[in-house]
Amino acid sequence: MTFEPGLVHTPLTPLASDRRIDFDRYGRAIEFHLRHGAQSLAVPMHVGESVSLADTEKRQLITFAVEAAAKRAPVIAHVSDAGTGIAVALARHAQAAGAAAVIATTPYYWTPPPAMILEHFSQIAAAVEIPFFVLNAPDDMAGIKINADLAMKLVGKLPNFAGVVDASLDWQFMIELLTEAARVRPDFKLIAGTELMVSAGAIGATGMFSALASVAPKLVRQLFDLCRQQKLFEARVAQEEIAALRQIVKPGGIAALKAAARAMGRDYGNPRPPLLPLVAAAEKRLLAELETLPVLAAEPRGW
């Protein structure tokens, strides 16, 4: 079941002023991503405010995304939850809705030890036949991370465990993971979980998740293509430009990303509580900092 996700855009979730999902705009967002370099979509990732969506909304959103993509690009459904049973049910829904794969990170809140993580992932993966990816995102998960040992136990147990999407950016982990996993499962995938792909690409990552594609999809695609062609020295300029963009947006999180997208003519509304929109001064500062990036001039405006 080799599934090569390639460049995976992770859309923001557009919210109306009453905080409901604006599906009309979501459809436009998906068209935007497909027109601007996405080879796959992953919805709703943390950047799509998954944790702030009700279970029924997540189901709706996954179904909507699969239908909107209309076989032009595979959709990876993000099914992370605190409760294993809830994640399992969402994974089943995703498969039934036509998702190409599911992805999950460690269970929320419980500070799970490795045995608990293993069981959580095992139940989710066993509930579906489509490929299952693990998201390693210690910065999002209070430091809880996957190690190569745990990944190898999953490889041994789960025939549909297809790979790790790594946002830890940890060279030692990535190298160890590929060293071990490739011996047992040659088509095991390392996917860069952020746009910092040059090092991951050198190590052997073949795909990349991108949140910044909502702001600068051309730059993202350029970086990804160079990495995939193993033009790693040539990729450094694009990598540094993306790192600069990332550094500007990162402190304000999703609110800043939404503000940056709005500056590019794509209004996703404000994030849902408990996240707050940027205060006016912070938004002004953000926009001024974005102005310092000449590379944004070449990026698409509007939907």
Binding site: S168, L169, D170, W171, Q172, M174, I175, E176, L178, T179, T194, L196, V198, S199, A200, A202, I203, G204, Q230, L232, F233, A235, R236, Q239, E240, A243, A244, R246, Q247
Partner: protein, 318 residues
Amino acid sequence: MGFASLNPSYESNDMQNKFRGVMQSPVTPLKDDFSLDLPTFERLLDFHVRSGAPAISWPHHKGESLNLTIDERKLFAEAAVKTVAGRVPVTIHVSALAVEDTMALARHAQDIGADGILAITPYFWTPTLEAIEAYFVRLCTSIDLPVLSYNSPSYLAGVEITGELMAHLIEKLPNFVGVKEASFNSEKFLEISRAALKLRPNFAMLTGVEFLLPSVPLGGVGSYSAAGSICPNLCTELFDSCVAGEWGRARELQFKMTRLWHLFKDQYPSSLKGGMVIMGRAVGPTRAPLPTATPERQAYIRSQLEDLGILESEPYGW
């Protein structure tokens, strides 16, 4: 007198680029009673130079720096400069628990004719960015030698040199010439390399261990070696394949190197010293609180080195 006034051509390429490639930091040979073994240290230094080390740096943590007295450190620093005798640059690692000791070691390194020093952010106190800045300013202005900084947030409770601080230091200090960036993390490496190389294109972006594959494409120019006393040939081949952009070959070698790192990082540098016995280059025990590799551990290391083909591909003995 400041460094810049002594060396107006300081910014020239050759001054800074001498810190590149897989540089070797020898372990510290000890006799059975745990005292310093000078003749073996001299042999080891010579071995590193003959087997291709582009530079020598001592005593890193793998040289048990923190388990040596300041007098012992001075004694072997002098031996290192004398034995290497200008064949390759020698830097002295001056990090010590007490900052006053660091200052004394730095002045000593200059007096004995070392080519540079290396210093980590201060231990234990979790210093603020302002305190880290004051520390490096004091260190760099106290000597004329080139200074390499050492960033190791995972060992030092998150204490790190940010990109912004690195930029300040570069702007202020003409002899602040590089960093051993040992976070092994894409974002941290990039944050520093972006800030530093813009201001000082020859700033030496070095990594710890031999993580060259992920760092060279981002502007990395070398590393300090962990396993060089075991596999100097592998170090050279890995570096050469990275700078040549032979990524397939580099990946293969990096994965092999990382297996060695996992073998040795357990009770580092005890296992390394254990492995050196297998390679015919015994250097004695390791000082407490670090354990000394047992015969069982050595046997395990031998089986791993066999499995990796190291016994055939690397030099045996001195």
